[in-house]
């Protein structure tokens, strides 16, 4: 093993150890000095995870979160030199982490928080204005064939838990009171979207979620609407379009040439 491989291994090892060949001017045990590096590495990465996952941390408490984060880091050290998206596998780790099993919704809240960070840093795209979209929506013959391009920040998260309500409760000043009103076992779908410079998280109906997911996958407008209605007979196409247009989520709208003739 190379020197740096040994050094790196000792930095991330669960048990403290000190690589060979280190010295101190006063002949003192270099292990104590090496521990500064161990601490810097692990604490800076725990802090990075805490920045990304504030609600996840609040749900289990700081002490539990930091202990869990330490184990995650030892098993999943960063593979990228930019840390903005470090920990994108934390939700999967939580699902396989028995001490967190009692908080059944924790992994989905973590997924939502990572989507929020992804949306914050997602590529910019200029939304179509309502005036640009209106004539296309009025073209009833061509509209079903239209392909809608959505903003790069837009993501949909399906959860068996009340993931949006739980997250929203933690944005309030009286979290305990807000949480008391949430039934965590109610399934919810989250829409994550950067509107201007701010990431918005909202709860959307199941039909809207199927419609938007269909558009994301490149399915034609008409087919996506049919799928949404099949999944949810309360699907409200006009309301869903209004939500997307107001949020600046529609960036392109292409009607295939064959349909325009």
């Amino acid at each position: 093993m190379s020197d740096q491989q040994v050094f790196a291994g000792a930095l991330l090892a669960a048990e403290p150890s000190c690589p060979p060949g280190l010295t101190a001017w006063n002949g003192s045990d270099p292990g104590r000095r090496f521990a500064i590096y161990r601490n810097n590495v692990v604490v800076s990465l725990i802090d990075a995870l805490a920045d990304t996952y504030p609600v996840t941390q609040e749900l289990v408490g700081e002490e539990f979160f930091r202990a869990m984060a330490r184990l995650f880091i030892q098993a999943n050290p960063p593979r990228s030199r930019m840390l903005a998206f470090y920990g994108d596998r934390l939700a999967d780790f939580i699902e396989g982490f028995p001490p967190a099993a009692a908080v059944s919704y924790l992994a989905d809240v973590a997924r939502l928080e990572m989507l929020r960070v992804s949306a914050y840093h997602a590529a910019d795209a200029v939304p179509l204005t309502p005036a640009e979209i209106a004539p296309l929506l009025e073209d009833e013959a061509a509209l079903p064939t239209a392909r809608i391009g959505l903003h790069p920040s837009l993501k949909v998260l399906f959860s068996r838990h009340a993931v949006v309500s739980l997250w929203a409760a933690h944005q309030t000043t009286d979290v305990t009171r807000a949480l008391a009103a949430v039934d965590s076992d109610v399934a919810e779908v989250a829409l994550v979207l950067r509107v201007g410079l701010d990431v918005e998280i909202s709860r959307i109906a199941a039909g809207a979620a199927v419609f938007i997911t269909g558009l994301e996958q490149g399915i034609a407008f008409g087919r996506a609407a049919e799928q949404a209605l099949a999944a949810d007979d309360a699907f409200d196409l006009a309301a869903t379009l209004g939500l997307l247009i107001r949020g600046g989520a529609i960036t392109t709208m292409i009607i295939p040439r064959s349909a325009t003739s």
Binding site: L22, A24, V41, S80, R81, M82, A119
Partner: protein
């Protein structure tokens, strides 16, 4: 000038493009305030890796702030002192960032931060000997050629030394400068921290570096600890105001080097913007004092070292 130095690409931005004034690190929590209050400050600095994202508020605000202020881009992830080859993708991303923002200065560290595929998110120490010297010079050459930008190399804050070292850190750094033509980022806090930790004279450390190579100065705060023998061990925390001993050493450096672009670094426990701005202005006052002293008494450059380690 030797053969290596002459091979450095003549660059777009000369590294001395930053004004000899105080600057601060640009923090997301200060974006709006900077744009609305337009503070009187010499430059802003960003960490390159934080801006390797596709879009959103970071680029929105940096673009607007960069239009008004000189910019220093400081890398923390290149791992120039690493045994592994430089990460070509990372270098490409850096090149794109420099191309987009055209900074007046680009700097990186004499340290390593990753091994194999794992990124350790800390500036880790290396032994100083012929083999590591050759490797660091090779990496600096690669960076300067790819970025078409002369880089500044920052002296590290370290907590351990290596039995394998055959050169002093300053000797190693001076040799890298000579062989690659890179400049130096003199981190005065790191000098102080390393000299306390290794029982050296910080003024002698500064005197051992090639003065003409220094293109920028960093100042920051440290935390205190002790080693296994109970001796002082300082930690480069970037989480406190600049300590008086570091201001004193800065004054010593200014007497030797003249005024230089000076960054106040703060990455933890970030205070309100005016607090950072006040530290940048303090650096500018000391620069003016140094110029005035030099004019009044040319012998000031021989002032004694008032900073003990």
């Amino acid at each position: 000038m030797n053969a290596h130095a002459s091979s450095v690409p003549k660059t777009v931005g000369a590294t001395c493009g930053l004004p000899a004034r105080g600057g601060v690190g640009l923090k997301p929590e200060h974006f709006r305030e900077v744009l609305s209050t337009k503070p009187d400050i010499g430059f802003f600095e960003i960490h390159a890796e934080n801006y390797m994202v596709d879009g959103g508020p970071f680029h929105h605000y940096l673009g607007r702030i960069r239009e008004r202020y000189p910019l220093s881009i400081h890398g923390v992830g290149l791992s120039i002192g690493g045994e592994s080859p430089l990460d070509a993708d990372h270098l490409d991303q850096l090149a794109r960032l420099l191309d987009r923002y055209q900074p007046e200065s680009f700097s990186e560290h004499l340290a390593w931060a990753s091994h194999g595929e794992v990124f350790l998110n800390d500036l880790l120490p290396l032994p100083y000997h012929a083999a590591t010297l050759a490797r660091v010079c090779d990496h600096v050459d690669q960076v300067q050629n790819r970025l078409r930008h002369r880089m500044l190399l920052e002296n590290p804050a370290t907590y351990v030394e290596f039995a394998a070292s055959t050169m002093a850190e300053t000797e190693f750094i001076a040799e890298v400068v000579l062989r690659t033509g890179c400049g130096l980022l003199l981190d005065v806090n790191n000098v102080y921290v390393a000299c306390v930790n290794h029982h050296r004279n910080p003024c002698a450390y500064i005197d051992s570096l090639p003065p003409d190579a220094v293109g920028q100065i960093h100042l920051a705060g440290f935390a205190r600890d002790v080693d296994a023998a109970g001796d002082s061990l300082l930690i480069d925390s970037h989480g406190a105001p600049v300590a008086q001993a570091v201001w004193d050493l800065y004054r010593y450096a200014l007497d030797r080097l003249g005024p230089l672009p000076t960054l106040i670094e703060r990455d933890n426990d970030i205070p309100s913007f005016p607090v950072l701005l006040a530290e940048a202005h303090q650096a500018e006052r000391l620069m003016r004092d140094a110029v005035a002293n030099a004019a009044a008494t040319p012998a000031a450059a021989n002032s004694s070292c008032g900073v003990g380690a």
